[in-house]
């Protein structure tokens, strides 16, 4: 008796995929036959036929001949051939295996067809022309990059100096087969997998040590996704956003992703330092990686490895999804602003500078109401938006002179009272 897999294998016809853009390029190119590459997913009856090697190969690699000559394509001595035929509306492909015509030829859509399903909701031509910088390609940045690629954003600048590590996998888009790769390389591939026509620039650098590069990246971008894991980088990005008048979307989770928040900077509005410096914003945040947290000072240098492990508390991937989702929506609203697209109505909904979200009624949210019957009281799994007042004397975004910055600075009056005046006769002796 035949087993089920054998029956299925006999009854499943191979599926062939030909890249429409490559087909058009070959058809218009005027060259003769072309030795291409086939990639076959072993045992899955799926074959991709490419005119040029994929940057990262997948499946079992073989050869395929692209030709306009029917006799050549139908030759029994040619193991795999694609016959390219011109029609009024472009080129089509017919696949032959040892001269036998194959059915089930599918096309990987050409550029103008790739995101046709988004039409009516998003203005694709506008998104295609936009440049988004994503700083930090961890569990937040990786997902947001891919979502924006799926939406049709055309240009990406990816910044992160980390590599894919085992502890990333539970929440990151990368898979175990990508362990050790630079996140910029891995996410660039993921973006190009969704949108092969996207322009992707990679910067595997620590932006806190490359502020001039950060400045240039922000200047050349329409919008910056701030998905880093420390405030120093957020403050540095904030400075560049203010300097160049660019939109920034910040997001983070707090301990074990029991909640999180999203902040949007728009030129002329409150900046990240207006938010953090006003004393109402919690500095607590999720620590997902001991080495990174030590580097950023979130784990003090004197804390033992054992104690540090108790501080590293990572939440669920599902708990950061809502945060990533709002960041993507805010980004799409900002990138599409004024374009009268299907998401224009969100401009009237997503009007806040700062958004809070709680996943569980724990610690910081322990006193919030249970979801059933919460009514107008704060509860979990709902967004709460707030307008933040811009600080006109803010040390980061002020348009005033230094004498007015002083009004915003923490002048330490209480400390001054404690210290008293103890300066009489004191002189500076500089030993360096």
């Amino acid at each position: 008796m035949e087993n089920i897999n054998m029956i299925l294998e006999q009854e499943t016809l191979p599926l062939y995929f030909v890249d429409k853009q490559e087909l058009d390029d070959y058809g218009r190119g005027g060259v003769g036959s072309l030795a291409g590459v086939s990639y076959e997913w072993e045992g899955e009856q799926v074959v991709h036929l490419r005119t040029r090697p994929a940057r990262h190969a997948y499946g079992q690699v073989g050869q395929v001949l692209f030709t306009r000559d029917p006799a050549q394509a139908m030759s029994a001595s040619v193991p795999l051939a694609v016959l390219v035929t011109e029609h009024d509306n472009g080129f089509s492909a017919t696949v032959y295996r040892h001269g036998e015509r194959q059915d089930n030829v599918n096309y990987i859509p050409a550029r103008d067809e790739l995101y046709s399903r988004n039409k009516g909701i998003l203005e694709l031509n506008i998104l295609e022309s936009k440049t988004v910088a994503i700083v930090g390609l961890g569990s937040f940045g990786s997902q947001i990059a891919i979502e924006l690629a799926k939406a049709g954003v055309g240009h990406f600048k990816l910044l992160d100096f980390d590599r894919v590590e085992l502890h990333n996998l539970a929440r990151h888009t990368c898979t175990a087969s990508e362990l050790g790769r630079l996140k910029t390389d891995a996410i660039a591939d993921a973006v190009l997998g969704k949108n092969p026509y996207a322009q992707v620039e990679k910067f595997p650098v620590d932006i806190n040590k490359n502020l001039s590069l950060l400045d240039a990246v922000v200047r050349e971008s329409d919008l910056v996704i701030v998905a880093t894991d420390n405030n120093t980088s957020r403050f540095n990005i904030n400075d560049a956003l203010v300097r160049h008048g660019r939109v920034g979307i910040y997001g983070r989770a707090i301990t074990r992703a029991e909640g999180g928040d999203v902040f949007r900077y728009r030129p002329g509005g409150p900046c990240y330092t207006c938010l953090v410096g006003n004393g109402t914003f919690s500095g607590e945040e999720e620590i997902t990686n001991e080495a990174s947290a030590r580097r950023n000072g979130q784990i003090p240098a004197y804390m033992s490895a054992a104690d540090a492990q108790t501080v590293v508390q990572v939440g669920l991937s599902a708990d950061i999804q809502p945060l990533c989702n709002l960041m993507v929506k805010l980004a799409l609203v900002e990138l599409s602003r004024g374009a009268h697209s299907g998401i224009t109505s969100l401009e009237q909904e997503l009007v806040y500078d700062y958004y809070m979200w709680a996943n569980r009624r724990e610690r910081k949210y322990a006193n919030w109401h249970a979801l059933p019957g919460a009514g107008p009281m704060p509860t979990i799994l709902r967004w709460y938006g707030a307008r933040i007042e811009r600080n006109t004397h803010c040390v980061a975004c002020r348009s005033t002179q230094s004498t007015e910055i002083v009004a915003d600075m923490d002048q330490g009056e209480e400390y001054a009272r404690q210290l008293g005046d103890n300066y009489d006769g004191l002189e500076l002796e500089v030993e360096d």
Binding site: N208, L211, N230, N231, T232, F235, N236, D239, T273, V276, G277, G283, E284, N296, G297, Q298, P300, A301, Y302, M303, V395, A396, Q401, S402, T403, I405, V406, D408, M409, D410, Q411, G412, E413, Y415, A416, Q418, L419, D421, N422, Y423, L426, E427, L428, E429, V430, E431, D432
Partner: protein
């Protein structure tokens, strides 16, 4: 890195808090490694010079050193990381003071406030020298 606007604002805050201009000096401004030298005197009259590194200030917590290697009551150099003594790893033979934690830091924090906290650290240090108690006895930990 600190810019001229910020430096002028810091001077204004020092003035506001009646810190005389002869006890501090901005050093190596315009280079990649600017720093502030500032003198401090404790209540018992001992004087110290502090070095506050400004290359990443105000977006990052600046490193603060006493410009020499301090020793504990038992004579050991205060060169390493210590939670109870509120020190971080020394550099170039200078004791490094742990003064701010990342959660409490934002760019509004002034050099005067750092200076004031380090003055309190020096008082605690002298308390340690006098009693043998760790600095933890007097100082709270920063988040």
């Amino acid at each position: 890195m600190i810019d001229n606007d910020r430096m002028n604002a810091e001077v204004a805050v020092f003035n506001f808090n009646r810190v005389p201009q002869n006890i501090y000096r901005f050093m190596d401004m315009g280079t990649s490694k600017p720093w502030l030298a500032i003198a401090a005197r404790t209540n018992v009259g001992n004087t110290y010079t502090l070095r506050i590194e400004l290359d990443k200030f105000p977006n990052e917590i600046p490193k603060v050193f006493v410009t020499r290697m301090l020793t504990t009551r038992s004579g050991a150099p205060m060169s390493g990381v210590s939670a109870s003594m509120h020190t971080l790893s020394s550099e170039n033979g200078r004791t490094r003071i742990c003064h701010y934690g990342s959660q409490a830091w934002n760019p509004r924090v002034t050099l005067f406030k750092i200076y004031a906290k380090c003055r309190l650290w020096l008082e605690a240090y002298e308390g340690h020298r006098a009693t043998g108690r760790d600095l933890d006895y007097w100082l709270k930990h920063q988040a």
